[in-house]
Structure formats: structure tokens, C-alpha cells
Symmetry: C2
Subunit: 185 residues, 2 copies
């Protein structure tokens, strides 16, 4: 951030009065521009003993598999965002069961909110951001070709809980993990 | 938003190629400025059969009671943010028990993440944003002087669950509710 989005003047990084963190503050109109973490929401969409994964058609991690998920938009709920992302990436119709996992990724200022969901039919197909969309049993999950560590962690918890058919809210933190991201890059 | 924070030129509201929502896009450098919901995190800080509330020293809702909570910052976890807000607003030391409630407030693009927490000592006192900080039993909760609907909803769930000492993750949505906000405004 270099310029004020309100008046177009230059901003400077300084600690505003009464605050304790540096913020971008406009030198002209004094607007303080706060920057906050973003929410990523998505679904574990279930069909019998299988779940839906999407093969990414876009960077980062093009060609690797992920759960349908993406950035939450203004004026929607977390569940609406998860449904929308599932529809956009997999053209899949689901109904939400409930929040299943929350992951903090502080080094990139993201919070993942992953819902369990029931797939309502098999009429899914790749959206614009996907190369392929498929159902996987636990044994078929391509563990070494998952796009992001948070997806591995979510699915590890999920299959643990599914053994007992008892799903508890799972919480975790994803640390910076360079070698993970180095695959295929 | 009127100006591009990257180059200072004017922005316009339009749907970028491949997108389906209007965004602020720079007319000069074409940067797309996404706007996303913010996370508010806080604590239900427990001490025996009482919980901690803060009387607001700032607008909005100055003079009304709330749980210690505030906007999550970049590069922290949700739990760290809840601890920080509890320290800032009540100078209270707590340890997190776990996520207790998630509320969507789509009309103001906020997601509340409220944690249960144990108060570690009684050395709390009002921070700069609080006029008073006190422990309340269920019967003492000032239901008609709570600052925000999301605080009422969180506490209603909490005292329901406390009766049975069984806390499940609670999820809800706070609708626009004009008359609520009209009190004392």
C-alpha cells in the first residue's frame, strides 16, 4: 500500500495514537487503513464413503488436488461462501452439515473454515478453476498430490473421525513449511 | 474506495474478466482491490460460576456491556487474537479452552469467533477501551444493557450449555436488527 484509497495522497506506516501496531495512515486526510486476515471457506462434500476433490486449473499449485474452497466475500455467511465455492469449482450441489475444522495460517494471515457437507447428486463437473473433479475413497486420496498442507490436515482429521462416525470440531495451526510448497514449483 | 492504493490513480467499480462480482479496479495499473469480511474474536472468560464482561468506553454502544472481543490482526492466530483482546480490554489473563461459537453477521461482513477461556487470576481491570470490568453470574447478566445482539446470542447459548456442562460448538447468524441498535443511540 502506497496511496490512500480515500483521497489518493501518499500513506506512511506509523503507529496511530492509542494504537500499538504500525498502520498505513494517510499523510493528507489521516485515514487509517487497517489490514486484516482473510477467511477461506470450503466443503468436505460426502457421497457414501467418498469425498469430492478438485484438480486445480490455476496457480498456485496447478494440477494438484484440493477440497473446493476459496475466499469468503462480503455480505455472505461462511456457509453460503462454502456452498458458492463448491458450486463454482465443482458445479456440485451440496447441503451443509456443519462447521468441521478451523485452521489458523498466521504467516499468510488466513483462517480456514471447513464444513462437512452432503453431495445431493452426482451431476458435478469441473468449474473454470478446476481441471477435474472426482470422488475419492480414503484409500484413493492422492496424499502426495494435495495442493496445500491445510487440506492434508483437514483430511487426516476427517478420516480419523469418520472411523468412529463421531465428528468433533477440529482446530489447528499450519506453520510455514517451505519444502511442502517446493513440490512441483 | 476512490483511488488505487498501489499507484494512486482513480478506481472504477466493474466485474473483472473471469469474475462475477463488481470489484474496485484501477483504471491505470489494473490492480483489483478485493474487499472481504473481517473476523472478530473474543473470550467468554470463566471464573467459577461467573464470566467477565467489559463496559464499553468507546462508541459504538458506549456504556453498554460486552465480552472482550475485537478485530483479528494479520499474522496472529484466532486464539492469540482472543487472548490479546481480553488483555487489552480487561487486563485479564486467560487460557483458551476452545472455540465455542461462530456467528455470521453478513450485513456488516463480519464473522465472530468466540472462545471459552479460563480466567487465571482476579487481577483484571479496565483497559483503555473499557469503563469497567466485572464478573457476573448468570442471574446478574445485564441482558438489556448488552452492547451487541451477537453478545446476547453467545451468552444465551453459553448458559444453556453450562446447565448440562456440555458445550457444543454453536453456530448462528445475526440479522439486521435496527431497533436493537437504536437503544441509547
Amino acid at each position: 500500500m502506497k496511496y490512500c484509497s480515500q483521497c489518493g495522497a501518499a500513506v506512511e506506516l506509523r503507529v496511530p495514537p492509542g494504537d500499538n501496531l504500525p498502520r498505513f495512515v494517510c499523510r493528507q486526510c489521516a485515514t487509517i487503513h487497517y489490514q486484516n486476515p482473510k477467511i477461506v471457506t470450503g466443503c468436505i462434500a460426502e457421497w457414501e464413503n467418498r469425498i469430492l476433490l478438485c484438480k486445480r486449473a490455476i496457480e498456485p499449485r496447478l494440477g494438484l488436488w484440493t477440497l473446493p474452497a476459496g475466499f469468503m466475500e462480503n455480505n455472505e455467511t461462511t456457509a453460503q461462501a462454502a456452498l458458492r465455492e463448491t458450486l463454482e469449482e465443482a458445479n456440485a450441489n451440496v447441503e451443509i452439515v456443519g462447521l468441521y475444522a478451523m485452521f489458523d495460517i498466521p504467516h499468510i494471515s488466513q483462517v480456514y473454515l471447513m464444513f462437512r457437507a452432503r453431495l445431493l447428486d452426482l451431476n458435478f463437473n469441473p468449474g473454470e478453476e478446476s481441471l477435474d473433479v472426482k470422488l475419492f475413497t480414503e484409500l484413493e486420496i492422492p496424499w502426495n498430490e494435495l495442493a496445500f498442507p491445510v487440506i492434508n490436515e483437514t483430511l487426516k482429521f476427517y478420516f480419523q473421525d469418520r472411523k468412529h462416525n463421531q465428528y468433533q470440531l477440529r482446530q489447528g495451526k499450519i506453520p510455514p513449511h517451505q519444502e511442502y510448497y517446493a513440490i512441483k514449483s
